[in-house]
Symmetry: C2
Subunit: 149 residues, 2 copies
DNA sequence: TATTGTTATACTCTATAACTATA
DNA sequence: TATAGTTATAGAGTATAACAATA
């Protein structure tokens, strides 16, 4: 039977996305609970990770990258500032904007959190073989790209 | 410098998990919005998917599989029942338990939703090349396993 | 006494709408 | 007039605690 769906010439198929979607939703739910730092929400952690990569960003840029609305990012940044993990400075050229940078404390926290993450990872790793982990590693950058598209 | 973290002999490493975690959280946020059926939450969709695979399950089993607490699953199942997507029957051997099965309507809905998903997929697919999608396809089953571990 | 499911309640995260300040 | 960010408010989804029924 002919379908009306668009051609997917690059090998993507509905079953894979179906599986991916279900796995992502359930994994995200687990990650919410397995959070490495009890005082930080998953998105707050994600923002710190983004800042560690980008160096600096405006609240608006962060909102777009995290796929969150501006008011939500305002709250998140305020939380992180209150915890001493980011600094807010005036934008040099546009006085409407602000610039968010991570503090040294955030860097230390990320290092500490990486250690905790490894412990949790070790437990999960026991359930996968080397080949399976290789697939996850190969796909991780693509998933990040997917999240940004 | 020597670390105190456990050996990860199967090739898993912290950077991969770091990347994976961030991508999963952001993707899940996108998926929340790109939901194929406006009237169903991501978890409700996930439960239907699980039922489609398992055939039947008790609320407790579903709660464990979806990594949700029993009271939450009570609400989710009640919603799905109110929408005519699942049926609740008495457990044949244990009168404390119940058995959840999907209705024909749910099956039709899943088929319809697959069509919509393909449309959304076509847009995303444009941003990845064949090799990248191959990596996603290869990793999808592993991610599902990871979500269940 | 332990387990399955439910009810009642509260919390976390995010969104929308309305507002302020700057471009 | 448009844009960046904020404030105030509401909603969705989930958790915890307390309870009922059955094993």
């Amino acid at each position: 039977m002919l379908t009306t769906m668009p051609e997917l010439s690059n090998g993507a198929d509905a079953d894979a996305v179906n599986s991916l979607r279900s796995a992502v939703m359930r994994l995200s739910r687990r990650l919410k609970h397995q959070r490495v730092d009890e005082s930080l929400s998953p998105t707050e952690m994600s923002v710190l990770g983004t800042l560690a990569r980008c160096g600096r960003a405006t609240p608006g840029e962060l909102a777009r990258k995290e796929h969150v609305q501006p008011p939500s990012m305002t709250r998140i940044v305020a939380m992180l500032e209150a915890k001493g993990l980011v600094r807010l400075e005036a934008h040099p050229e546009d006085r409407r904007q602000k610039v968010v940078t991570q503090t040294e404390q955030a860097e230390a926290m990320l290092e500490e959190s990486r250690r905790k993450r490894n412990t949790w990872l070790a437990e999960l790793a026991a359930g996968l073989d080397a080949e399976e982990w290789a697939k996850v590693r190969a796909a991780a950058p693509v998933l990040e790209k997917l999240a940004q598209l």
